[in-house]
Symmetry: C2
């Protein structure tokens, strides 16, 4: 049967005789003449809604229970009204069993959205609790009302309201049951439920082992025994355990229980209070359960325990290859030697030097350490930092200058040379380095230009082929729309066509850069392979990368142009300036050809036009949708060549 | 009359009698019975093309001259063939006058593209010279051929070929005329033209003053006199001038002529050869005409003159506020003091220190200079560089640490503190700075979040209003398409509506940042003013900026989190980490709401659909085109929040 409330299958030929007013009954006459009464759901729900609006909860509840309408509707129909009239609801129902039934059926789902959507004429649709805390809210509101009306009478319902919460409040429930046992001094209230009864009821709702564990978690052995007795557990098993526990010092006892219940955070908190002789056990648990952060809060920062936990934490982080955080943890607790290793491993050179300072190394030791640190920094291509370390900690400004030259930090290299008055290094190293770099830049620009032109040429070919294929499609006027069709055609055209669009094998001369580029290429989303379905996107991506790579060179080029001029290598400077300008201009001129308006807008232009029909529009719209994933939208934005960046040295004009 | 070659107006009722075969004549019978002969252009051009294809230049030329067909067609019809058969052309024409006529009509325009487009049946269309050097190419090719056939006979045509070049080669022409005068020893060739005749002819082609100036430019006084005599110039004027020149030393004479002709580059070249006593005059001219670059090439780099010119150049650049280039020029010629000032002015601190080193300053002088340099660098917010200068050149590591703290370079500050073993600074300055910075970041994140939410809320309002307005449009089904209409409606709705979308006055607490933001805001393309036509774009732009501004903070936040942890300000660290994470999450969650697919594609989605008609599609397409300029396309790409950036310190979880 469908959940739609208005449709109901009946025998063919049935006739409606009447609808009973103010009721949910519909009288039908069957083809054979007999009368039948059905409660049509549309009528039922309409009636229930009316009752609920009038706060006639009793009538609504009875009817829903009889006709098995989900009880959540009582709340969901109008949450605000229900929550404000919970007392009326309870007083009208006036039955612990029925209230428990209501609790049992509660769920987060809003049945007015799923099972019983209101008819279209319904006026306002109130939004449910957006936080998805519906059940918890009802439980808490109902409990408050019941405790107000008669906590004894509604005892079991109150317990149910705790159990039904998203995180069942079993400790509270157990505590309340425990209270029912009373001390024997106060006579039980007349309509009170006995602890026995309550516990029995509870075991219907909750798994006995759960309840036992939670009772243990209260550290209240009376409670534990009470539950244990009701459970199927063997007293020979749990009694010795409880007796052992009882003999323990309170904190250690609680620790043992926490550990048994796998509540490790609580466990170390209790263990930490047991005195220093238990610290090794505590530290083991901390390491075992990775509770360093929680553990550090339990000890004062200047205690030995704090330091021990920190060292263990740091070592754990190092194992996870989290060197910098590890170093920070070591540094914070004064484990400078370990901090030094950690910071060295991750190239946090300033922190490493701070740690080294606190180890009071000899001058030679410091120099040696400086050298390893510099080596690490060079690996990470941080030449300036490496040079600072060598100059200031290893007193080796000569090596520092060489590193600066390797890192193309020309002006900083010059500064050191003048600082130490070693102008001879200009001739022996600086000038040759600059000239070498100029040569490398020339070669790099050459390869960038070649790649750019190759990709651009191929892109135009691919677009042409695609357009032809698409045209063929539109001519058919059959929206096949499946990309694979489109591209299998294209690729067959490609493989059979002339070689003009094929790539010559690339032969980059800058090895450092090319390996970097290779790694980048591997990360690419689309394949540049000829005839691959999204080859045009791959080409756009590659072209974008070439342009951005060139654009990023501006500052470096400006730096070298300045020193080329300074050392009177005007010709070399002019040559590089010209090459770079030509490269930029080539790219700039080509941008509108590559990032055309048409292709920018997903070829939106050809879709509409004097010759388009409704079919052709829909067909190509369909095609576009499938062939260009939205995620690639940024590919259709041309890269920026910033005209304002002042890379050029006008002195070299 | 139109240039179309196939249409020709004739009297109504005219009849074609016959077309003369192998000729261009068309015989018509007029309504009154008389016969008329016309050369119909279609026939004429067809015939000319045939002749040209058969290399019958004579026939083609004669016909074209008679019927006033532009002579460029001889070349343009098939440039390759013509240029390969220039000798045949000259030999067939065999007339100096006709050849000169041909030269005179030459122009860059390709007449087959403009005046005489070939009929559609024409087979191949050969592209003209792409470089637009057509005239020069014809002149040079023809001249070579004429000099080969008979240089004496074609003398005047040869001269014409020089004059007709894009840059007329008047010196060469004058030289050739001069040669015609002969030395008197060799008898003139039989068919030779006299110098007199040639000069007369030349004056028909070229303005006499131009010719006089160019003759002067050859530094050949015979030539000058020859031209001067033919000109209308008063000998009392030019003779004294020429006599004064004649008395001068050759280089000075040439300098004087160059200067007179305003050829300043040549002028300084000649003046530089006149000896050191003329250098001041030369330097003045260099300064006056801004010829520093050219002048520097005339003197050896280690000469005093080179240095003097460089200094003048540098001073010129300084006046133009080009401090860095100025400094480079000074540094290159060894003007270290001036270089120092220049590099100081632009904050090129390393270069400035190089210059200072070469001035052999005292320790105190160097320290003083270091302090001003550091001040300059702080102005440019280069705190690290400033600290390096103070530490290494002013021996003031304390001030260096303070600058590093100001620049949020916590780890570098710590390094210096440990390097100089001044751990007391940690308590007195570093920790307070870190805590202050934490507070500022908190406030900044607060204001970023507020701005973001405000703009986002307003954007949704604006979109709603726009959609309503657009809907009203579409319902009319009249594509008005004019944006102003659309938005005058919108803005009137806005001004009359409730205040919920209005901004409260912003009250940023970070003054340094807010002034930066203010400057940024001034650069914005669109107005955020409420109801402004592109307010939604302005909001997108502003939102993009807020997101990017937050995204850029990641590294700074990571840095401060590390030191907060190191100094056990865990709570402050956690607080900042949480605030930053919340800010990022708020933005991230909102991105799809702000950069919706619909608005990303220029609201392309609502254009098509089951309810759209051809009219509605076109109307909204039209509207989109006008309302969203393509330049703003990038506004529709959501900013990136890079998930991979590791800004978070897990230690603070």
């Amino acid at each position: 049967m469908s959940h739609g409330e208005t449709l109901r299958k009946v025998e063919r030929g049935s006739r409606i005789v009447t609808v009973v007013p103010q009721d949910t009954k519909l009288v039908l006459q069957m083809p054979r003449g007999n009368l039948e009464v059905v409660c049509h759901r549309a009528l039922v729900l309409a009636q229930i809604r009316k009752w609920l609006d009038k706060l006639m909860f009793k009538e609504a509840f009875e009817c829903m229970r009889k006709l098995r309408i989900n009880l959540n509707l009582i709340h969901d129909h109008n949450p605000k009204v229900f929550l404000e009239n919970v007392e009326a609801f309870i007083r009208q129902i006036d039955s612990v069993n029925h209230i428990n039934l209501f609790f049992t059926e509660l769920k987060e789902e809003d049945v007015t959205k799923t099972m019983y959507p209101p008819p279209v004429t319904s006026a306002v649709q109130l939004p449910g609790d957006p936080e998805g805390r519906k059940v918890d809210l009802i439980c808490d509101t109902m409990r408050a009302a019941m405790e107000n009306i008669n906590p004894h009478k509604y005892c079991l319902s109150i317990l149910t309201s705790h159990v039904k919460k998203t995180t069942p409040e079993l400790e509270i429930v157990l505590q309340k049951v425990h209270e029912l046992q009373g001390t024997g001094n106060v006579p039980p209230a007349p309509d009170a439920v006995s602890a026995e009864e309550a516990l029995k009821y509870l075991l219907l709702l909750v798994d006995v082992n759960d309840l036992y564990d939670h009772s243990l978690g209260t550290y209240d052995f009376d409670l534990v025994l009470m539950v244990a007795e009701k459970s199927q557990k063997d007293p020979k098993e749990y009694l010795p355990f409880l007796n052992t526990l009882k003999k323990m010092e309170t904190n250690y006892q609680r620790f043992t229980i926490d550990k048994y219940l796998k509540r490790y955070e609580k466990a170390i908190r209790h263990l930490s209070k047991c005195g220093p002789e238990y610290f090794p056990e505590c530290l083991n648990l901390i390491k075992d359960k990775n509770l360093y952060n929680e553990a550090l809060k339990l000890y004062p920062p200047n205690s030995q325990q704090y330091k021990d936990i920190s060292v263990a934490y740091g070592e754990h982080l190092m194992q996870e290859r989290l060197y910098e955080p590890g170093g920070l943890v070591f540094a914070r607790c004064g484990a400078h030697e370990k901090a030094l290793d950690a910071f060295l491993a991750c190239g946090s050179w300033q922190q490493a030097l701070c740690a080294a300072a606190q180890l009071h190394l000899s001058r030679d030791q410091l120099a040696g350490f400086g050298r390893s640190l510099a080596g690490k920094l060079v690996e990470q291509r941080k030449h300036r930092d490496a040079a600072t370390v060598l100059e200031q900690y290893a007193q080796d400004y000569e090596e520092a200058v060489l590193l600066l030259l390797e890192g193309a930090a020309w002006e900083e290299a010059l500064r050191l040379v003048y600082k130490y008055n070693r102008l001879d290094i200009i001739e022996t190293n600086i000038k040759p380095s600059i000239l070498e770099a100029q040569k490398n830049y020339m070669a790099f620009l050459d390869s960038q230009t070649a790649t750019f032109s190759r990709h651009k040429k191929r892109l135009l070919v691919v677009r042409e082929l695609k357009e032809q294929a698409q045209q063929a499609h539109l001519d058919d006027d059959v929206p096949r729309g499946r990309e694979s069709d489109l591209f299998s055609e294209t690729s067959s055209v490609v493989s059979g066509s002339d070689m003009s669009g094929k790539y010559p094998h690339s032969n980059s001369r800058i090895s450092a850069r090319s390996s970097k580029n290779r790694r980048k290429a591997e990360r690419k989303k689309h394949s540049l392979k000829e005839g691959s379905p999204l080859e045009d996107l791959a080409l756009l991506e590659a072209l974008n990368e070439v342009v951005q790579g060139t654009e990023k060179l501006k500052d470096e080029i400006h730096q070298i142009l300045k020193v080329l001029f300074l050392f009177e290598f005007d010709e070399k400077g002019r040559e590089l300036q010209k090459a770079f300008e030509d490269t930029l201009q080539l790219m700039e001129r080509s941008l509108p050809e590559i990032w055309t308006l048409t292709h920018q807008q997903n070829s939106a232009a050809p879709v509409l036009g004097p010759n388009s029909t409704a079919n052709s529009i829909m067909a190509s719209y369909q095609q576009q949708k499938t062939s260009v994933p939205v995620l690639d939208a940024e590919l259709f934005i041309p890269p920026k060549i910033n005209q304002k960046t002042q890379w050029k040295l006008n002195l070299l004009e």
